[in-house]
């Protein structure tokens, strides 16, 4: 960096300090349930043991992010006391203030000066640079992640600069307003630079409101209050325990019996919620979005699904609303590739859906599917025979069975192949399948994250291996659009395009009926399972 540019940067930082964007205090105003009380303990449901300890940057599973949230902090986070995850609901955590500069090409964070790691070391800008240089695999990164599922989120970051211990500047290759939202995800915590990242697989040194006390493998994760937490007066609770219960029936019974105070995000179906409510009317059940969708992946590199007409026929054949009614008993909503409103920000409006394949009148849709199949050379005398792969887990198999039945009605004879978890992602990534029933969870409701992960050419999570130059341009275009209304329109066009191409037809978006006991206060489930659960504002009304 030249002397001139240093001076320019220093001046702009000075100005930014004055005019910094939403200078917000950390989330600290629990709105529900009266005056907060200190003390107490909560038992929280954990569906399975930690996949890779607390190494959040090395996983993409809620089983890791949910019980890790109390240990960590982000630069910014979605307000934990508000359900909606919008830009307006972003609040500072480790960053006191932030500012976009140079027409959204530089993002400057001004860090808190009173933060300590759980081992007593001071938190500085070095930790931020360490974390994101490692995640984006910068050439001079001081450490490397063993598995790095979100490298693509930060592909637009050119450099990260730390002018002083409490200022960080993200220099971007092009404007990208969505970056701030991705930094607020539960998948974007700050690691300590003085700790080997591999050690997060067995322990957790964070800056969060709770310190890890013990992780008894396969049994529980215990946290105790962090007395040095930088938000004065937080957390309210003395301790947390995430109880690992593998069996779903036992988990539900434990919640019903009061041995657990809080359910696991994404765990409670509509039917289960109704049964729980009937058994314990006092339980607080909140229907929320999950940002998890059911979708169909089709191998676009091999016949017959290299033919867009065949892909489109599949999309037309599946009655989304019937799937929601029968398989999910109403516990899901229709939508395209972004989570629909009111659960998401970017999803298409209800009125736009009928124009998409598979969303119109079922009889018309199926007729259209038969027509397309005929054009592709398939007929009742020469039916299309395919193998439908899916993960050998009930929630996948139920959906796949429904889809097979729908395909049969238009003349596609599909046989079900159940694939063990160990084989599912290798198989999908290598394209060793014809058609598959899949679930996709989005770490954050942000088009950049979704399209770069699941639709961009060459992305390892683009299981269909769909690749369109036009779509790539559209992804780039929406990503750098600064006008919110214009960006919304671009994203709407993008959603229509990928559905019309049957790139990865989305069938529905699952809902969660998040359940907790009424004595749990200040815990607000979000419309995204990955980004809440910091627990700093949560308190217990009855000891």
């Amino acid at each position: 960096m030249t002397r001139f540019s240093r001076i320019a940067l220093a001046m702009s930082l000075g100005l930014a300090m004055v005019f910094a964007g939403p200078a917000l205090a950390p989330a600290q105003s629990p709105k529900s349930g009266g005056t907060p009380k200190y003390g107490g303990h909560l038992n929280i449901m954990q569906r399975e043991d930690l996949a890779q300890g607390f190494a959040v940057h090395e996983t993409s599973t809620i089983a890791t992010s949910w019980p890790s949230m109390p240990c960590f902090n982000n630069l910014v986070v979605f307000d934990q006391t508000k359900r909606a995850e919008t830009v307006d609901n972003l609040v500072g955590e480790l960053a006191e203030k932030w500012s976009w500069q140079d027409n959204y090409r530089n993002l400057v964070f001004f860090l808190r000066k009173d933060v300590k790691w759980h081992d007593g070391q001071p938190f500085t800008s070095k930790d931020v640079k360490f974390t994101f240089d490692m995640v984006r695999e910068a050439p001079n990164a001081p450490a490397k992640l063993r598995i790095n599922p979100r490298k693509d989120w930060y592909s637009n970051v050119e450099d990260i600069e730390t002018p002083d211990p409490y200022t960080v500047v993200f220099h971007l290759k092009r404007p990208q307003p969505g970056l701030l939202v991705m930094l607020a995800s539960g998948y974007s915590p700050i690691y300590a630079a003085h700790v080997n990242p591999a050690s997060y697989r067995t322990g957790c040194i964070g800056t969060g409101p709770f310190k890890l006390k013990e992780w008894r493998k396969g049994e529980f994760i215990d946290y105790v209050k962090n007395p040095d937490y930088f938000v004065k007066g937080r957390p309210y609770l003395d301790s947390l325990r995430y109880v690992v219960i593998k069996e779903r029936g036992t988990r539900t019974a434990a919640l019903q019996a009061g041995q657990l105070d809080v359910s696991f995000p994404g765990e409670t179906t509509k039917t289960a919620a109704e049964q729980l409510k009937k058994a314990v009317p006092g339980l607080v059940i909140t229907p929320v979005g999950t940002t998890v969708n059911d979708n169909i992946i089709m191998n676009t590199k091999k016949p017959p699904f290299d033919n867009p007409k065949v892909r489109l026929a599949v999309s037309y054949a599946i009655d989304r609303r019937a799937l929601i009614t029968t398989v999910h008993q109403g516990g899901a909503v229709p939508g395209a590739s972004m989570q629909p409103k009111p659960y998401g920000v970017w999803g298409l409006a209800e009125k736009d859906l009928p124009s998409l394949p598979g969303y119109g009148k079922p009889a018309d849709m199926k007729a259209q599917a038969r027509k397309l199949l005929k054009e592709a050379g398939f007929s009742p005398e020469n039916p299309l025979r395919v193998e439908m792969s899916t993960r050998a887990i009930a929630m996948y198999v139920d959906m796949a069975s429904f889809v097979i039945n729908e395909l049969k009605q238009v003349g596609i004879e599909a046989t079900l192949k159940q694939v063990e978890t160990a084989q599912w992602h290798p198989m999908a990534t290598r394209g060793e399948y014809q058609i598959g029933a899949n679930l996709t969870g989005l770490g954050v409701d942000e088009p950049d994250a979704n399209y770069n992960e699941n639709y961009a050419c060459g992305s390892p999570r683009n299981y269909s291996q769909y690749c369109s130059e036009e779509v790539m341009k559209m992804i780039e275009q929406q990503s750098q659009e600064l006008d919110v209304k214009k960006r919304l329109a671009l994203v709407a066009r993008l959603q229509k395009k990928v559905e019309d191409d049957a790139a990865r037809p989305v069938l529905d978006w699952r809902l969660d009926y998040f359940t907790m006991w009424p004595h749990v206060k200040g815990l607000v489930p979000h419309d995204n399972i990955y980004n809440f659960g910091r627990m700093a504002d949560v308190w217990r009304d009855r000891q």
Binding site: I245, Q259, T421
Partner: protein, 317 residues
């Protein structure tokens, strides 16, 4: 006797060696490995990152080399590290053993306490109404999987009482009462199934013995029915029952998977399944070997019991 035990232990060692080859081979034959699972948690696969992890875990080495390394580790008392948890395998396995051994022992106590007396009653009252009731009871026990029974118990308790046993393991030192409650219900669920088997074996074995001449002689000598049954008949009918008890114990050590899962007990069986799903070879291999050792030792104890129960049984030279 000492020679016999030494011979059996030597054969046991050979069995363990065979077991080690079988379990090692079967694990490698199963599709996928830990690296696939790790990538599954990330939702993608990257070939170069994959190779790096394989190298880190030693999975890139030839299979025979991996086997020799495992044998070397066993010989030096080091069971290697869990791939998943990055902790010494023995540190993970050790706390699981007491939980499963306790549950298996309690289940067997329930099974024997129920199975033997009911089997005797059923045999003595052959073809009476009571016999039919007991046979239905035992048939139900055999037909109902213990995990199903366990789940029914849990759901019934929560529906009627709004209560279930603790879902977090409580050690006897922490709270003996809660610990007892935590183990009582799974022991009943598992013990009921085993008792059904023991009852049927006891019944059929006793019925066979009751037809022997010496029983008729004992009755002719004027001995009471109770003495004839408990002293003469049962003592001779008990050998097959002891065999079944031994087999049941061995089965329970590895076969409590679903019961441990339903009652959320951190035992060997539940953890073994989890380790298999994760292809955590060091855990699976060593855990299976530990289970095999328990099975071999329990078989030896059963064989030694034969000699104690029936003086006609003599051990080899």
């Amino acid at each position: 006797m000492k020679t016999y035990i030494a011979q059996r232990l030597a054969v046991g060692l050979l069995t363990l060696f065979g077991m080690s080859i079988v379990i090692f081979g079967m694990l490698r034959l199963a599709p996928g490995d830990i690296v696939d699972i790790l990538f599954s948690t990330g939702g993608y696969v990257n070939p170069s990152e994959r190779q790096a992890i394989e190298r880190e875990l030693g999975l890139d080495r030839p299979v025979w080399e991996q086997y020799v390394e495992w044998m070397r580790q066993i010989a030096t008392g080091d069971l290697g590290k869990s791939y998943r948890y990055d902790l010494p395998a023995w540190d993970i396995i050790r706390p699981l053993l007491p939980v499963t051994l306790e549950l298996a022992a309690l289940s067997l106590i329930v099974a024997v306490a129920l199975g033997v007396p009911l089997g005797v009653i059923s045999a003595v009252r052959q073809d009476t109404g009571l016999d039919y009731v007991l046979r239905v009871f035992s048939l139900a026990g055999l037909s109902m999987p213990s995990f199903w029974l366990g789940m029914v118990i849990i759901l019934t308790l929560v529906a009627w009482l709004g209560w279930i046993p603790p879902v977090t393991y409580v050690t006897p030192r922490e709270n003996f009462g809660l610990h007892a409650v935590q183990f009582a219900l799974p022991a009943l669920a598992v013990g009921y199934r085993s008792s059904a088997l023991i009852m049927r074996i006891t019944r059929s074995s006793l019925l066979e013995v009751m037809r022997e001449d010496y029983i008729r002689t004992a009755r002719a000598k004027g001995q009471s029915g109770r003495v004839v049954i408990w002293r003469h008949a049962l003592q001779n009918a008990i050998l097959p029952v002891v065999t079944v008890i031994g087999i049941e114990f061995a089965f329970l050590i590895g076969g409590l998977v679903v019961t441990e899962t339903v009652f959320n007990l951190p035992g060997v069986a539940r953890f073994l399944v989890e380790a298999i799903l994760w292809r955590d070879y060091p855990i699976v291999q060593n855990l299976v070997m530990v289970i095999a050792i328990v099975v071999i030792l329990s078989n030896l104890v059963v064989d030694l019991l034969y000699g104690f129960l029936d003086p006609r049984v003599r051990y080899g030279h």
